[in-house]
């Protein structure tokens, strides 16, 4: 199992825009390089990409929460 970490601090969002469907849901599959969330910092929304492929087992942070650099975001069960 791999844990994806935030590479920058800011505010964490699971959806591309307010009210939109989340990028990924728990239990769904992601592939390496896929956008899984946004982090807003320095007036820009930066895409967070999956560093591994696999199944998302758990989000470790809620939509709209503040996130710090290096904080665990999501657990992925490697394919």
């Amino acid at each position: 199992m791999a844990t994806i970490k935030a590479t920058m601090p800011g505010v964490f969002y699971r959806c591309p825009s307010p009210g939109a469907e989340p990028y990924v849901a728990e239990g769904s599959d992601v592939s390496e390089g896929q956008t899984i969330a946004l982090i807003e910092v320095m007036k820009t929304f930066n895409e967070v990409k999956a560093e591994v492929s696999g199944t998302v087992t758990k989000f470790l942070i809620a939509d709209g929460d503040e996130v710090s650099m290096g904080q665990d975001i999501m657990e992925v069960d490697g394919a």
């Binding site: 970490k5 920058m8 601090p9 800011g10 910092v41 320095m42 007036k43 503040e66 710090s68 650099m69």
Partner: protein
């Protein structure tokens, strides 16, 4: 042409130098490296003039390939660095060859990394500076942050003796990143707008850096400040934080609405109608530059003599580095 091949640009990497001084009165802020100490030290480590153009990377460093023999140095934030996969040390003179690739891992302390290359970044000079001012898209490399695939020109390698590979800056001369960054501040110009209790509260509060923290300014959170009641003067806005327009010193702190103080930095607007309640001294703008979203800062009141002494002390630290590297 020899230069740097930008494999990845990182999050926000720009060309910066000592800044574009002399145009403040026409509304152009100086830009320039936010942490001047780390930036200048990086140049000294590669034998450049202290004010040569270098790269400033925020939060996520770039990945760069070299196309000829150079000396490089990485300073500023704590970050693991590799050269073609092998770990190399920050705050040291690192020789590189054509084809070498410099990469950064995740920052472990601080916020901004400086990378100097012998010869400097050879972008054209604009109004006396190579600093990037992204808001109007001028200076630096095409007036913008680096993007994947860019090719950055480098200057001629300096003639004369450069520091030997492996030369370094003593641990004691490098910046530290405490849990709460103390920012020495000269209170004024419009601190008369705050109540006595509010000014005390401003100095006693530990403030948190919000997500809105970049080269323009740092927005903080942690308390609410009350303004003295007054009759709105002619020419001032209706917010209690408004005054008749004035020039904003670089480093000045304004508090629109009484909460969320904003510290204006090198790319900020040069004037306006908000009361500036204090100014972070130049030496400690290096320190705020190395705080990131979520970090804590506090303000410590100093007078102008203490501010100038701190500036001299920073100059002496750079001179000590310069002397150590000549030994």
């Amino acid at each position: 042409m020899n230069g740097l091949i930008v494999h990845t640009g990182g999050l926000y990497t720009t060309v910066q130098d000592t800044g574009r001084d002399g145009y403040y009165e026409i509304g152009m802020p100086p830009s320039g490296a936010l942490d001047q100490f780390s930036y200048r030290a990086a140049n000294l480590l590669v034998g450049n003039p202290e004010g040569a153009a270098a790269l400033e990377a925020t939060y996520i460093g770039p990945e760069l390939e070299f196309t000829d023999d150079r000396l490089v140095a990485v300073t500023g934030a704590d970050v693991p660095v590799t050269l073609s996969g092998e770990p190399v040390k920050p705050w040291e003179t690192i020789p590189v060859k054509a084809g070498d690739v410099l990469s950064f891992a995740m920052i472990t302390g601080g916020a901004r990394v400086y990378l100097a290359v012998s010869g400097g970044i050879g972008v054209p000079d604009y109004l006396g500076s190579r600093s990037t001012y992204t808001l109007t898209g001028l200076g630096g490399f095409e007036g913008r942050k680096l993007a994947d695939g860019d090719r950055l020109p480098l200057g001629e390698r300096p003639v004369g003796t450069a520091p030997a590979p492996g030369s370094g800056v003593s641990e004691s001369l490098r910046p530290s990143f405490p849990e709460v960054a103390e920012l020495r501040t000269v209170v004024g110009l419009c601190s008369y707008r705050l109540t006595d209790a509010a000014l005390r509260s401003f100095l006693e509060t530990t403030w948190k850096v919000t997500k809105d923290a970049d080269r323009v300014g740092y927005r903080l959170r942690g308390g609410t400040l009350d303004f003295v009641e007054r009759e709105q003067p002619f020419g001032a806005g209706s917010d209690p934080a408004n005054v008749v327009d004035l020039g904003y010193p670089v480093g000045s702190i304004q508090v629109p609405g009484g909460d969320e103080p904003i510290v204006l930095l090198n790319d900020a607007v040069t004037g306006g109608g908000y009361a500036t309640i204090g100014t972070v001294i130049s030496a400690d703008r290096d320190r705020i530059a190395q705080t990131k979203t979520g970090d804590q800062v506090s303000f410590v009141s100093v007078d102008i003599d203490q501010a100038l002494a701190a500036r001299r002390e920073r100059r002496e630290r750079l001179d000590r580095i310069s002397n150590e590297l000549k030994e």
